[in-house]
């Protein structure tokens, strides 16, 4: 049961990482800022700009 819970937590963490939600949390923590619509947009713009200058895999 404990292992199953650990696996579930890991999967949830993976989904949050793929969704950039973890990166956003890190961004807020690193800059000491609180969540807001404007802050998300600032973070998202910066992150997406970097991501889509690199080719995606086939």
């Amino acid at each position: 049961m404990k292992r199953l819970k650990k696996l579930g937590a890991l999967l949830a963490a993976l989904l949050r990482e793929l969704a950039d939600e973890s990166a956003y949390r890190r961004h807020l923590a690193a800059h000491g800022r609180a969540h807001s619509g404007a802050e998300w947009r600032r973070f998202s713009d910066q992150r997406l700009r970097a991501r889509y200058t690199r080719p995606k895999c086939c």
Partner: protein
Amino acid sequence: MKRTLGWFLWAAVSVVAAVALGVVALTRGEAIDSMWLVLAAACTFALGFRFYGKFIAARVMALDDTRATPAERLRNGHDFEPTNKWILFGHHFAAIAGPGPLVGPVLAAQFGYLPGTLWIIAGAVMGGAVQDFTILFASMRRDGKSLGEMAREEIGKVGGFTALVTVLLIMIVLLATVALVVVNALKGSPWGTFTIAATMPIALFMGLYLRYVRPGKVLECSAMGFGLVVAAIFGGQAVAASAALGPVFTLSGTALAVAIIVYGFFASALPVWLLLAPRDYLSTFVKLGVVSMLAVGILVVRPHLQLPPFTRFTDGTGPIFGGKVFPFCFITIACGAISGFHALISSGTTPKMIARESHALRIGYGSMLLEGFVAVMAMIAASVMQPGVYFAVNSPAGVVGATPQAAAATISSWGFPVTAASMESLARAVGEKTLFFRTGGAPSLALGMAHIFARAGGRAVLGFWYHFAIMFEALFILTLIDAGTRVGRFMLQDMLGHVAKPLGRTSWMPGVIATSAAIVAAWGYFLYQGVRDPLGGINTLWPLFGISNQLLSAVALCVGTTILIKMHRARYIWITGIPLAWLVVVTFTAGWQKIFSPLANVGFLAHAGRLGARLESGAAAASQAAEIRRLILNDRLDAVVCGVFLALVATILLDSLRVWAGILRGTRPATLNEASFVPTKLDRESL
């Protein structure tokens, strides 16, 4: 005691691998259980990881966990962030898994299931995983530098610039090829076309929702998007049945190609948060979900393979693409065995997130093995269909005959019985008008997947699963087209910026429009010629894409070999040298044959010559003359493109050989451009 048990366990895995490979390779004349393929792949990959991967990690790369990685040294909360190894494994796998490992094996199944399966297993262990791991390691030791930057620093300016041009050209061929896969899947299919068209407003809704309604709630937004996409699949069934809407969404290949070209232009110029990013999030989750479902489906259903291990088409007369099993099987399956594009990912985000050097083995080597496993599943999905059905779906009308009856008769005459009536019944079951001539691999993969998924719900749900699979494939192909066009535009702007400064500015709108148009026009031209090709187009574009992708691998392996030599590991250069030599032989043979083969079903110039002779002899009607001249031009253009790829990679190879010889002779310094050693301060618990 534990050690002895471990050795017994690995001995047992080796025995199972040997037995499974034996069954897969030696069984003739009966349908084998797909579990043998699963076992052969899983056990060989486990052995490859445990022994070969660990050997490279320990002896060759000497991964050092006391050394701080760029994620720790340059930590900034954005790109550089030490990440849990399993999370990063999933992240890296999601980034490398695209349509390639799914479509390639389906097309290569024309040779039978055996050649492709063996190549996937051997290629992934000895080639693909080694390449991904080596480049990931090299980039990790160089602060996350890209493949192009490493090529420039380690080989030289010529190598670096050539690598950049090679990547740009390969992207153009890649985008045209995958766009053609989507066009062929949606041609004459109102259900599929409606579903894919609906993903665009859904993505726009998601983009606005994420930006203004619930900022930051990506998972919540993606779950809503997934619900809407599933609703669109059901809606598509109603649209297809509607007398008013059905014809609106029944589009020809040409109309779909034009729509995708126009879409590509606008999508690459729109803000990424509006369309590209929300669909990319959704596509990533759907991709991981569907791949997992397919794995579970195969394990539960355990379908039997209907395709034989070898077909008669190993001799090069295949209807899907021309050319013998060597070299064409090895370039048709690229991403499932070894893919140059993975080197771009391994030198992209991932090296910036590795917490400890030892994690690179699991992430670089392990993710590629999982990708190989996806390719084996795609091979199974293609092989569970009756061979007659497989060839009816994948063969172009120009080869098997323009009517269902003629096609069924031709395919049956090859020893793969199929009837027009049974194909019509199958088409009705999946909600399509016809399944003949649906080249490109996506429809047959969707059929195979639907066949496996529907075993739980009966034939009634076959249509849903077929269109679900089509949606899944089209979703990430369209994302690839958006992102690829955008990246191609940036690369072009980067190059043109050296000639005229304003063209290099990504904020200068005329420059953005001009370069976007140039990139779209480039891949759009190849797409358009593929759609108009009477032989289906995929027979031309997929080999071209396979050759170019494998050539990019050769570039990556040149960089990897150079780094090994500079690390004074010359005695281990066979690790990257063997896959490099194999790829050079395979791709140069395939490239040479595609240009110069005297057989018209293989060589571009021979095909152009045959068309020219037909024109000169007056055998073609006057109304067809313009069309034939266009086909001749396209053949010659394809030959030139293929030749350019070979020349570019030959340049990098020769440049690398010059550098290697200099270092080994001692006339050139073996200067490594690694970041300096800094001891790690991360404790194991914090990871």
